[in-house]
Structures are given as C-alpha cells and as structure tokens.
C-alpha cells in the first residue's frame, strides 16, 4: 500500500514534534526549576510552575554566593572571550585571505597544518600550552587564557573558504589595474565584502571561548580571575545534592534551583549574541553556496 502525500506529511510532523519535545523538555525543566524551592523541585511535578518569589530568592542567593563571585566570573569570562575573539579576528581574516587569494611558497603546507590543528581536540593542547605559558611567566594571568583563545584555526579555514569561493578574482584584478596595491586590495575590496564571515568567525570564536572550561581551569589559579564555566563547577560542589558527603554545603544557600539559574545566566550571553547576529550568521554560512 502506498502512503499518500498527506500521510507522509503527518508522519513527518509527528517526528519533528517528537524531536522538538526531546530537545525542549530539558530546557523547559531548567527554566521552571528556577521558580521552585529545592524541596518543590524534588516533590512537585517536573513541569509545575513555582512562584516569582522563589525565582527572586534563587537570584539573590546565586549572586550572593561567595560575596558576589558570580558577577566576577561573568566579567572575567567576558574579558577572556572578547579579548580572544578580537585577536582571533585580527589574525584569522588576513590569514584566510592570504591562503585563498595569494600565492607563496608553503601555502599548501600551511593550509594542511591549519586543517590538522583544526581537527585536533583543544584539550590535547592544554598541557603543552600550560608549560609554554609558564615558561614566559604568564600562568595565572588573563593572557594565559586570551592568547590560546586567539589561536582559532577554524576561523582561518572559514575565511579561506569564503575568500576562495565568494570573491571573484577578476574583481581583485580590476582593483589592481585601477592602482590598488596588495594592501589596498585587501583593505578596500576584500575586507568590506567579508562582513558575513567576520560575524561568523566572531560568533564561533565567542561560543568556543565562552564555553571553554579546561583551559582556564588549568591556567588560572586565583579565584578573582576565574571564568563562569569554572565557577559553575564550584557551585556544583557547593550544592548538597551533588556533594552530600560534605556537611554544611546546604547552609551555603546554593541549592538545585540556584544551580539551574546559574546555568541560564551562564548561557545567556551566547543566546543574546546569537539572537542579534542571526541574520548575519545565515548570510555568512550561505556565502559561496551559489554562483550567479
């Protein structure tokens, strides 16, 4: 028996709804968890709504934890991420342009190295990086996080793809005929056209930097310099439910609702950046997909 087009659409819709529920249920649970007390979280229905006052309590408890540590963690994350993104863009855009549109000895080798480092797990490089940073006395300084963050081979590769597939070589040749030197060609022709890929590289670099846990965990020793991802681990270990063998953690005012709120606060910057950059990101991702 052959299923009708309508039946296939219904099946497709059910599958899509199933996947939507699968991915959204945990998010909704986390959102609702912030409105409950710890006891309600374990005794009431998983999707029951608490009260605004519980949310306010969780907010105060979270931001009061260890003398406003959360604010400091967020500030540090912002410094590391924006610092890393700024240098990554400054390095990746010209590098991708050079690899895509210029000829020089070792170009292919450099491209191959970029690809290899791109697929290498970032955590594998953390220990050599630690030793390197230590040799120049930069451990436990923000530079120990920002400089490795600024090394972003994926961004170089994205730029390489963009420049090699989107910018017509004839356009660059025309600029040279009109008197532009190589810097001028890059500065006045290629770079203005690269806006979508700049946004794309910035977004991916920001997400990678903001969510990085292991590098700052190894590089940073001082509390005052910790980013939010490492701070979250301290919150978890300070929550009685996750560290029951440690009497007294419950008295520290951080319970599961505060932890759920901390997760939302920690991902909020990425969500905000994504919302504002969405249109540009789509443009960047589609750049070079078609030729007209």
């Amino acid at each position: 028996m052959k299923l009708s087009h309508f039946t296939w659409r219904i099946v497709g819709l059910i599958v899509l709804l199933g996947f939507t529920a699968f991915f959204f249920v945990p998010v909704i649970w986390v959102l609702l968890a912030t409105t409950k007390t710890d006891v309600q979280l374990t005794s009431s229905g998983p999707f029951s709504l608490g009260t605004l006052s519980h949310f306010v309590h969780a907010w105060k408890a979270l931001f009061g934890f260890q003398s406003d540590a959360m604010v400091g963690w967020l500030e540090n994350s912002a410094i590391y991420s924006f610092g890393g993104v700024a240098i990554a863009i400054i390095a990746a855009i010209p590098a991708g342009y050079g690899l895509a549109l210029t000829q020089f000895i070792g170009r292919r080798t450099l491209l191959a190295i970029t690809l290899v480092t791109m697929i290498m797990p970032a955590t594998a490089l953390v220990l050599p990086l630690f030793l390197e940073m230590n040799s120049v006395n930069l451990t436990d300084t923000p530079w120990a996080v920002i400089l490795p963050f600024s090394f972003f081979p994926f961004g170089v590769y994205l730029c390489y793809i963009f420049f090699s597939s989107t910018i017509p070589k004839d356009l660059l040749s025309a600029a040279r005929v009109d008197g532009c030197n190589e810097w001028g060609v890059f500065r006045y022709v290629a770079l203005p056209l690269a806006r979508p890929v700049v946004a794309l590289v910035a977004f991916f670099a920001f997400v990678a930097d903001w969510n990085n846990y292991y590098l700052p965990f190894v590089m940073i020793a001082s509390n005052s310099k910790l980013p939010v991802q490492v701070g979250l681990e301290y919150l978890i270990s300070s929550t009685e439910a996750f560290n029951p063998g440690n009497p007294g953690t419950g008295a520290q005012l951080v319970q599961r609702p505060e932890l759920a709120l901390a997760i939302l606060v920690a991902i909020a910057p990425v969500a905000i950046v994504f919302m504002f950059a969405q249109r540009t990101l789509v443009k960047g991702m589609l750049a070079g997909a078609t030729k007209e």
Partner: protein
C-alpha cells in the same frame, strides 16, 4: 583611486568597516588595559607580611575568614576550590602541574576527599607534609578523637588533620517508632533488622541500600576488611571474612520494602520516603538533612530524628562504627613557611572560634561539647526517648568508635560501590554478590596503584 568611495554602497561599507575597526580596537584596548592592571591585584602592603595561601571549599569559608580576622599580621591568599570533592581529582591535577613547573602549590588546603592522604602523600604528587615529626606537637595530636587519624596515617606518619568527623550513629524517629509499634531503640543490627518487618508493614523504612556510602555504613561498621592496610603497601581485601558475610546475610534478610535500594539525594527520594524514615544508620551530619526531605518540612516535628548509639553486630560484637565524609586539613610540603602553615592548620582545626563555625562534628575533642550544644539549640533534632543518649552522648561515643581498620587508599571505595555494586543491587542482586563485585574491582585498582593485595 578608491573604487568604493565612488558609490553610496561603498561609503556605507567603508563606514561599517571603520566602525568595526574602531570597536575592535576599543575592545582590545579595554581588555588589554584591564589585563595589564591585573584582576584582583593585591595591595603593596601585603608584601611586607608573611604570606600563606589557603585552598578552601565553600563550607570552610567562614573558618578561613575567622583566621584572617584573628591574624592581622599574616597576609592570607584565600582561594576557593571544590575541596577535591567526589573524587574528581582537582588537587591531583593541580599538583601534577605545579610539580612540573616548580611553583603554584598552596601552603595549606582543605580536602573533602577522605582518601586524599593516600594519594597526595605519595608519588607522583608528594605534596602532603608529615605532621607528627615536629610540625605539630604530640600533645595536640593526642586530643583528636580516637581513630580519627587513621585515614591520615601511612606507615606511622600523619599527613593530615581531621577537621570534622562524620561518624555513623543510629538515627531514629520517635514518632514513627510509636506509630509502627516499635517499643525500643535497637542496639544491635539484628534488632534493627527485626524491626524492619514492623516498619515495612506500615510502609516505613529502616535505612537504604543503594547509596555510594553503603560500604562505609554496613561493612566499615562491622570491622569487615575490605580496605585494610596491614603493613605499608599491603592491603587486605577479604569479602569472605565472617564480619563481611554475616553483615551481607543480615542485610539480604531484610525486606526491600524496609531497606529499599534508593539514593537519599536523588530527585525522587524525598517524595517517596520523606516522613517514612523510622531508622537510618548514617553519618552525624544527616540529622539536619532528614527534616528537609520531600514531604517533610523543617516545621514538621514528625520528620525530626534523634541520635542513638551506633549499632553493634550482636550484644558481644565489636563496638565500632564507620564514617561518611568529614574533611581533612593538609600542610603542603612545598610551603616556604612550614611553621606558619602548620600553625594555621592547628588554629583552623582546634580553636573554638574556628570549630564553632564548622558544619561537622569537630575531630578535636575539646571543641566537641560547645559545638554539640549549638546543634542541640538549633531545634533540628527530635527529643531523645527516655533512657536514650543525648545528642552529645551519642556523638561522643560514636566519634571514639570509628574503626581504624578501614584504611585510606588512593582510589575511591565509594565510587566502586556506586558504579559497580549499586547497579547490581538495583537489578535484584544481593549484598553477598555485591561484596564479591566490590572486592574484585577494589583489588584490581589496588594492584594498579602498587599494592600487594591479599585476602
């Protein structure tokens, strides 16, 4: 010639480009200036004082603050850590790096991980300093509860000080006992198991099996040799010992209604068992936890528990108990000011000012009475039944009955139990079978850590 300046679109792009460059430059400058200024820079006056670095966990914050207040002539760099909790190896990772680069160690640190002495005192970390060879006086060490140094002692050398004890007592709920027809608080494991039938008839429970700390409660509490270092580098793991098999047999004889496979801090435990716990053999810190479970509230007197003496296996059995948790203070052997570091640890671990801020029962004997008085006044505990010990009596007796034959090892016994035995119990396996699983896995880990294992 500038090909973009000839068109309106080009002007917009140029303006965008300039704005982008300006924003990027500003962002870089701001971040660089902040970086250069140094986040959390310390004042110049700090350099003139002797300095010690303290790694502490959340629950020890107030104690460290008290130390700073009481020692204005010492510059303290207080660093919040996770306390090496749940066997995550934070300290081991940090010391491996510090040893490699030759700096970065703290002077003193607090660990929630009871087996940390076994790893941090030995290669490749070699960080914990020996405390009983001149750093801390013997008279001070003698005032700690009997057996409290067992987890800190390796080959006669004491590598840490217990901050608080988490000795097991028998928690009982007087209201539920009356409702279930249980007339007296059990003193032996056999009586406790018999009472399980009465509790089960009313849907109540007398404990759990399925927590990572099962072995600490039932087997450590009956001198079962599952983690006994008989001589340096030699470990006795003997699940066939009568002390182990008798306890396993007793536990297997209790119905699963009375002794369910359940984890106290799971999301469903409170809903399922809150207000139904008539007995619970467990750590001293648990007394304050029961009232907050699920359907219990802190205002509900029916959920409050009183502490009884630890159970013995029979009326003539060994008067011992186990422990779940508790914390340790270490002095780093890499400290450049060992005397100051040792004195700081002694102050944190023995002064009443500090210990009154400790959430756990102080291991240092002279601080016990005032600490218990504070707990008693908190209203978190039920009034003991007639003829039963006070909180102070129960805690003090239990504190001195912790069996010293349960040695610290570099691997985490709790994790073996949680990952390998609990799944077996949850699928209908017996405690007797669980003992075999635990012993086999522990022996493998012990051998990989260089122990000679015998049974």
């Amino acid at each position: 010639m500038n090909i973009y300046r000839s068109s309106g679109g080009g002007n917009r792009r140029t303006r965008w480009h300039r704005r982008t460059l300006a924003v990027a430059a500003c962002a870089s400058l701001v971040s660089l200036s902040i970086v250069s200024a140094g986040i959390g820079a310390t004042g110049a006056s700090a350099a003139k004082k002797p300095t010690i670095t303290i790694w502490y966990d959340t629950a020890r914050k107030s104690m460290v603050q008290a130390y700073i207040k009481a020692h204005p002539k010492v510059h303290v760099v207080a660093v919040l850590k996770d306390g090496d909790s749940n066997g995550d190896g934070t300290y081991q990772s940090a010391f491996a790096l510090d040893n490699r680069v030759g700096h970065g160690w703290p002077d003193i640190y607090f660990s929630e991980q009871n087996n940390d002495a076994a790893s941090l005192a030995q290669a490749p970390f070699n960080d914990a300093a020996v405390l009983n060879k001149g750093l801390i006086s013997k008279s001070t060490l003698a005032k700690f509860a009997h057996g409290s140094a067992a987890l800190c002692t390796i080959g006669g050398k004491v590598y840490c000080l217990r901050n608080d004890l988490a000795m097991n007592v028998l928690w009982y709920n007087p209201t539920l006992m009356a409702q279930d027809g249980i007339t007296s608080v059990p003193t032996t494991w056999q009586q406790w198991a018999t009472d399980g039938a009465l509790a089960a008839a009313k849907g109540d429970i007398i404990g759990t099996q399925g927590d990572s700390w099962d072995a600490d409660t039932y087997y450590w509490g009956n001198e079962c040799p599952l983690s006994q270092e008989t001589s340096p580098g030699t470990l006795l793991i003997n699940p066939a010992s009568t002390n182990c098999t008798a306890m396993a047999s007793l536990l297997d004889g209790v119905s699963r209604t009375a002794l369910p496979v359940a984890y106290m801090f799971s999301s469903t435990f409170g809903q399922q068992y809150g207000g139904k716990i008539v007995f619970y053999p467990g750590a001293s810190w648990m007394g304050g936890v029961f009232p907050g479970l699920g359907s219990c509230t802190s205002a509900n007197p029916d959920c409050k528990m009183a502490a009884g003496y630890p159970l013995t296996f029979s009326s003539s059995g060994p008067a011992v108990t186990g422990a779940i948790g508790g914390g340790l203070w270490f002095v780093s052997s890499h400290s450049k000011n060992l005397k100051l570091a040792a004195s700081a640890v002694v102050w944190l671990d023995t002064s009443l000012t500090s210990q009154n801020l400790s959430p756990g029962f102080p291991a240092y004997g002279p601080d016990d009475a005032p600490w218990v008085a504070t707990q008693d006044a908190s209203g978190s505990y039920a009034t003991p039944l007639s003829g039963q010990p006070t909180l102070s009596q129960a805690f003090n007796k239990a504190a001195n009955e912790i069996w010293s034959g349960w040695s610290a090892v570099p691997y985490a016994n709790d994790q073996i139990w949680a990952s390998d035995v609990v799944p077996s119990l949850a699928t209908g396996g017996t405690q007797a079978a669980g003992l075999g699983i635990f012993a086999s896995d522990a022996a493998n880990l012990a051998r990989s850590d260089g122990f000679q294992v015998h049974s």
